[in-house]
């Protein structure tokens, strides 16, 4: 899972003190679609932007495990439970690939997790919405992971090698997430009227947040131009959002569900769907941590870390003892 890179406060204008020759060589390499690797020279702003973007992406994967875990013990069948468990394990794995990629830029796992837990770092706003019924698990797979795939596919060619390689691995696994979600909803719409209603209710609540996952409109996305030039981002927020709408509307029709947007219609001339206005105030409120369950998410994260501390310490002490014995 993923959302576009965001900042809590707009960054102050950067004064670059970089060596102009190194900077020019770097820009040329990136423009030629070469990959930048950990020990290569890179401008500080590139490094900083990547650490922020990759760690935010990693946090989103880890926090994304929480809304799904909410339904793990109440999955309607053993098979659905096994599938959900595998998906949640994947999200954990995705977080680990990404933390490792960020660590190659000189930050530590510990620093990143601290930044998440004390609110300095962000994660995708989508996880600050609650999962109210079982169909939400389907909607998350279909829409949230679907939007994530749209975002992530171009990132397989992002300029930073370790990030691009993590993305290749993640994209392969993400397709399972989306398909199992759609499959779940397919069986619900074929079920009782109450089950159909749950599926529609889930679409009603997840549609707009899914569109917001692509981030602010292009004319209000301050870092986009530089990130595009550095190939940290490869398509604009609005391009990706349009792609998502075009791909998803026919899928909703096949389910027999109604997309909750009265302005949605096919535009023959553009060859795309037109869709209604997104209410960005809600998005920014959720970015600021005002989502219905933002507090709950961070409390769950901190509890997981604190309650597991003794295990990590014991493992470290055990190895230190063994190392001492080996040395003796």
């Amino acid at each position: 899972m993923y959302t576009t890179e965001l900042e809590k406060q707009p960054a102050p204008a950067l004064v670059t003190m970089e060596d102009p020759a190194s900077l020019a060589a770097f820009e040329a390499r990136v423009a030629a679609d070469e990959y930048i690797e950990p020990n290569d020279w890179m401008p500080e702003a590139y490094r900083r932007t990547l650490v922020r973007q990759i760690s935010q992406h990693a946090h989103s994967e880890i926090v994304g495990m929480l809304p799904e875990a909410n339904w793990l013990t109440r999955a309607p069948s053993l098979q659905r439970k096994a599938i959900l468990l595998a998906k949640i394990q994947d999200e954990g794995g995705h977080g680990l690939y990404l933390y490792c990629a960020a660590e190659t830029l000189g930050t530590s796992r510990d620093e990143m997790i601290d930044a998440l837990h004390d609110g300095r770092a962000k994660y995708s706003t989508i996880f600050n919405y609650p999962t109210l019924n079982w169909a939400d698990i389907g909607a998350i797979g279909w829409l949230v992971d679907g939007a994530a795939i749209m975002n992530q596919v171009p990132l397989q060619r992002t300029s930073y090698g370790p990030y691009a390689r993590a993305m290749v691995r993640i994209c392969k696994e993400e397709s399972f997430h989306q398909r199992q979600g759609y499959d779940l909803l397919l069986s619900m719409v074929k079920g009782t009227p109450a089950q159909r209603e749950m599926a529609q209710d889930a679409l009603n609540r997840w549609w707009w947040p899914a569109l917001m996952m692509f981030g602010p409109p292009d004319d209000n996305s301050p870092n986009s131009a530089q990130s595009m030039r550095w190939r940290i981002k490869r398509e604009t927020n609005d391009e990706l959002r349009q792609k998502f709408v075009d791909a998803t509307v026919p899928q909703a029709e096949l389910l027999g569900l109604t997309v909750p947007d009265p302005d949605l219609r096919w535009n023959e001339e553009r060859g795309h769907y037109d869709f209604g206005k997104i209410i960005w105030d809600e998005f920014y409120a959720v970015v600021r941590g005002e989502g219905p369950v933002a507090r709950e998410r961070m409390e769950a994260r901190r509890a997981a870390r604190d309650n597991g501390a003794w295990v990590r310490e014991a493992a470290a002490v055990f190895e230190a003892k063994r190392a001492a014995r080996r040395a003796a």
Binding site: N39, G93, R165, A316, E319
Partner: protein, 93 residues
Amino acid sequence: MKDWPLWEVFVRARGGLDHRHAGSVHAPDMEMALRHARDTYTRRMEGVSIWVVRSTDIVASDPARGEALFEPAASKIYRHPTFYELPEAVNHM
């Protein structure tokens, strides 16, 4: 608490192939490193064998000196079989 040490993970996809770098994991010791590598990088039958090695034990060449290291090979095209144009009759050699 400080992070556990970092380990690089290499996975052999199937018999007959080389181990290939898959990524890295944190772990306090080598047994745990192997377990974490297995959980993180082989959830879908991606491998039949795993190596882990402490990241600090890897010695890497300096990319800034890449030219000095690798450039000399560029001018030695006679090391490639295609450098030699042989008579038609034996050119499949």
